[in-house]
Amino acid sequence: MLLFAAILFWINSSLTDSFQSLADGRQRKTAVAAMGSAPSGDDAIEAWLKRISSQNDEFDLIFLRGFPEDEGGMRAFAGTPELEELLGSYEGTRSFAKGLESSMYDEVFQPSDRLTVRGETRRVLFAPAHDGETGDIVGTALFLISSSDFDSFLTLMRGLFILALVIFTAVFAVATYSRDPVTGFIILGLFTIVAIFVAYPLFEAVRLTFVQEGRFSLEIWRSILSQKQYLNALQGSIELGVYTATASTAVGFLFAFVISRTGIRGKRFLSAIATLPVISPPFSLTLSIILLFGNNGLITRQLLQLEGFSIYGLGGLTVVQTMGMFPIAYLTMIGVLEGIDSTLEDAAMNLRATRWETFRTVTLPLSVPGLLSSWLLVFTNSLADFANPLILAGNFRVLSVESYMEVTGMNRLGHGAALSLLLLMPTLSAFLVQRYWVSRRSFVTVTGKPSARLTDLVSPGLKRVLLAAMFVIIAFLLSLYGTIIAGCFVKNWGIDYSFSLSNIREAFERGWRVLLDTLTLAGMATPIAGFLAMIAALVLTRKNFPGKRLLDMLILTPFALPGTLVGISYILAFNKAPLILVGTGAIIVINYVIRELPVGVEAGIVSLRQIDPSIEEAAADLGADVPTIFRTIVLPLVRPAFISSLSYTFVRSMTAVSAVIFLISAKWYHLTVQIYNFSECLRFGLASVLATTLIVIVLLTFGLLHVLVRKNENLAKTVSN
């Protein structure tokens, strides 16, 4: 270990040295070159000094003509009063004397002294000055060289040195003391990844909100919490969240109730419809809402000729978000309702409760925890939603868009970070309530055997009303999707509804490269996230190590973070040394991986928990090392989870907006942002084409997933033998 430290120290210091000599070399050359032809007349010297100092701001120069021992003595030309004063205080020092001496012997001398000129730290260099013609030494040039570059380099070196030391220590410790170094390195690697790409950016984001002009300050938070504009956005977000959550829960419950508690046909179809919006890409519903109800919308303008109606704002947003998010509520509620043993309801009716009484006294109370958690889930999602309000908010303000505007419009990253952190508060509290209150109150009675329902819980009349409501919603949803597709083929929506393929041609002409970019980045992130998720899941379920809970938490954290916060914290953390990633494709890939990892890890953990650990132990016992076990045993066994997390990552990466919009560059663009750009310039046809393309890609991916996982169903059943 000591040896390592010694080597590292040597590497560090020799690197520093070589930089120093490099810098020295450069400056010496400049210095010597400059001094090669020093003028001799006083005025000439003054002019010459002026020229030199105006030519560069890397250094200041004091010229010392002659030497103290000379007959005429030494005369200093300082140029400015400040330099003169500086010289006065420096003249008596030993370094100064030594500098003159070196110069006399035609040598350059560089003491370690630091002097301050115009509030800036300077290094000192003495160089001999030669007569242009004779080549005699006529005096000494005292350079005061800007050292900020050099010092920041030193700081960086020191940082890297410490980092390298930490890593080396950790690697060394694992290699020496761990019985299972491979696992040790994996854990170390995971910690490094989450430290750099989860903890560090978040820390930077939080730090920035407390800093103003390089010093600690609460100024940003004060302005965020007092200025009307920001408070409006906070209020807007919450208002929208409450409306959307309530509406979505109602719709979701309606679907879940009808599908699980009444004897209707076509349940599979209804269920498919109710989950469809989960996978619809961002902007698609917003787009069709605008096409139908916008300022030049088919319904509002062409059919109804409404004046003064605007879909932009809270109302339109609530509709769009509800359409997009009620599936979350539906999926939660169907789980809860199917978990309630329907014999309870039969028993209540047997005891002469009417249908309504049964619903009110049995079904509803049992579903309360489920209703609450779906409300909270939708609420959180609505707050974090960025795509819909970006286009549809109009003058209505929400936090996610506001923080984006602060960053991109005003270049106020601190405010943006603070706003998105504010967004985290309701999200986090909803999450905590969900985790610690709702889950504890849940009294779902899972019997495992679905009992055949004998009695409908609703009267035929009411059932018809419920069905009608459902079909209205379904029809609306389907017409929204139909509109996007129609939008692709219409020449100029709102003006000229004739059939045309020109939009498709133009969209692909202009969007082809972006599509390829998006596919490439998502395609790269997918396998990385998939493998990483399974490895992390394996380590988290099967290994014990210090800091396991911390690792678990850090891996899962990005799941709870609003995309805007992630995006902002990434540009904060990675646009400066030591990791300059902004503008590269890598930062986008990393962002995908980190954001989609939690879901994959959770899926992997659930799937691994069902696998008898002795299966892996048997493999180890027969001589398999950790990578071999992973490849030959774990991966085949968690294949369904693995494939789902692959396709999930791919789809989510293809349809990402909120974080990635901060990270794209001219070189690496994203399809969703292109959709946004098209709709901003009111080219809704082009936007529709791209949105439809995304829908097709998403559907294809899930189709493929379905086929691949099907093949595995047998396996899944035998895993927990």
Partner: protein, 365 residues
């Protein structure tokens, strides 16, 4: 076959777990110290939770001992990871690879050792034949019966020709008949291969019928190591006596100890040739009697009067259950045709044959 049997030695091995809930320390194994000779089958026997599995898992390398050393032959393997150890374990739940068929399960270890394809299939089939599964090579494990799965697990472990075979309650998931059959088979294969084996069980019949030696554990500690006969006839203490077989204890007063231990039981004096050394200086003792060390006499002639409640006729012997004021006592009457048999309901008196008993110290609190 070409298995190199090796010895296994545990030197003062202990394992302390942190209880995940309470965070308190649990001493699972406390100072285990024994050697398994090459080719020997040793059983770890004890009640559930006494640390048998933990001991086995430390030998396999799945757990790291808190203190102590483990050796195979002379090589110290204490810190070696499982995949670097020359051990093979048969798991209680078998741990078969559900995504591979029987052949691939058994071939797994050989593939890791890069055995050429031809030799590999030849060896797999030979071992499958050995466990009687030659014709099921293509089946997935999910379509095998419990006994067949057990055989696959055994073949999978044996095929890598480990120097030590470890079995953790391998038969506990089988029904009684199959258990007996597999027991015989495991012993046959182990003997024919001459492989060193450690076998964990909580079933004393299994332990008695399989083992060269038995290690009896209780509460993490080893209480006795001996041949089945030794632990049965000459148990170290009352716990071992009770755990190894049916037993009745008669409280006794120690009168003197020389060659034999002279005790007084219910007013009668006996000289017991077998006794625990720990009785020296003690005043009280327990006389341990197996059912076959007890005899039935007419009322008043023995040391404890009672009444026969049930007789179970077994051919070579009769098991008589006698209810007494010390509770119900089982007496085995051997060779019933040659002696007097008391019928159900008859009053009797119980006595014992001193040579077949052992004087043990009273159980410590």
């Amino acid at each position: 076959m070409d298995i190199q049997s090796k010895s296994v030695t545990l030197e003062n091995v202990s394992k302390v777990f942190k209880d995940p809930q309470s965070g308190r320390d649990v001493v699972a194994v406390d100072g285990a110290d024994f050697t398994i000779a090459p080719g020997e089958l040793v059983t770890l026997l004890g009640p559930s939770g006494c640390g048998k599995t933990t001991t086995l898992r430390m030998i396999a390398g799945f757990e790291l001992p808190t203190t102590g050393r483990i050796r195979i032959d002379t090589e110290d393997i204490t810190l070696l990871p499982p995949n670097k150890r020359d051990t093979a374990m048969v798991f209680q739940s078998y741990g078969l690879f559900p995504h591979m068929n029987v052949f691939d399960n058994v071939a797994y270890g050989l593939r890791l050792r890069k055995v050429p394809q031809k030799e590999l299939s030849e060896r797999v089939m030979r071992y499958l034949g050995m466990v009687g599964l030659g014709d099921l090579a293509k089946r997935p494990p999910s379509r095998l019966s419990g006994g067949q799965q057990q055989r696959v697990a055994l073949a999978r472990s044996l095929i890598v020709e480990p120097s030590v075979l470890l079995l953790d309650e391998p038969l506990s998931n089988l029904d009684a008949l199959l258990r007996e059959q597999m027991r015989v088979e495991i012993r046959r294969i182990q003997k024919s291969l001459g492989i060193t084996a450690a076998y964990v069980t909580h079933d004393r019949v299994e332990a008695m019928s399989l083992s060269d030696r038995i290690i009896v554990m209780n509460g993490g500690k080893i209480v006795q190591i001996g041949t089945p006969h030794q632990v049965y006839r000459d148990p170290a203490d009352a716990f071992v006596a009770g755990f190894i077989g049916k037993v009745a204890f008669f409280p006794a007063a120690v009168i003197g100890i020389d060659e034999a231990c002279t005790v007084e039981v219910r007013g009668k004096t006996f000289a017991l040739p077998r006794f625990s050394e720990r009785l020296r200086g003690a005043e009280r003792a327990l006389v341990m009697c197996r059912p076959e060390s007890l005899t039935l006499l007419p009322p008043g002639e023995g040391i404890l009067d009672g009444r026969v409640t049930t007789n179970v006729y077994l051919g070579h012997s009769i098991e008589s259950f006698v209810s007494t004021d010390m509770g119900e006592i089982l007496v085995q009457v051997d060779n019933p045709d040659a002696r007097r048999v008391f019928g159900e309901g008859e009053a009797v008196s119980i006595s014992f044959i001193p040579e077949l008993t052992k004087a043990l110290p009273e159980a410590e609190a």
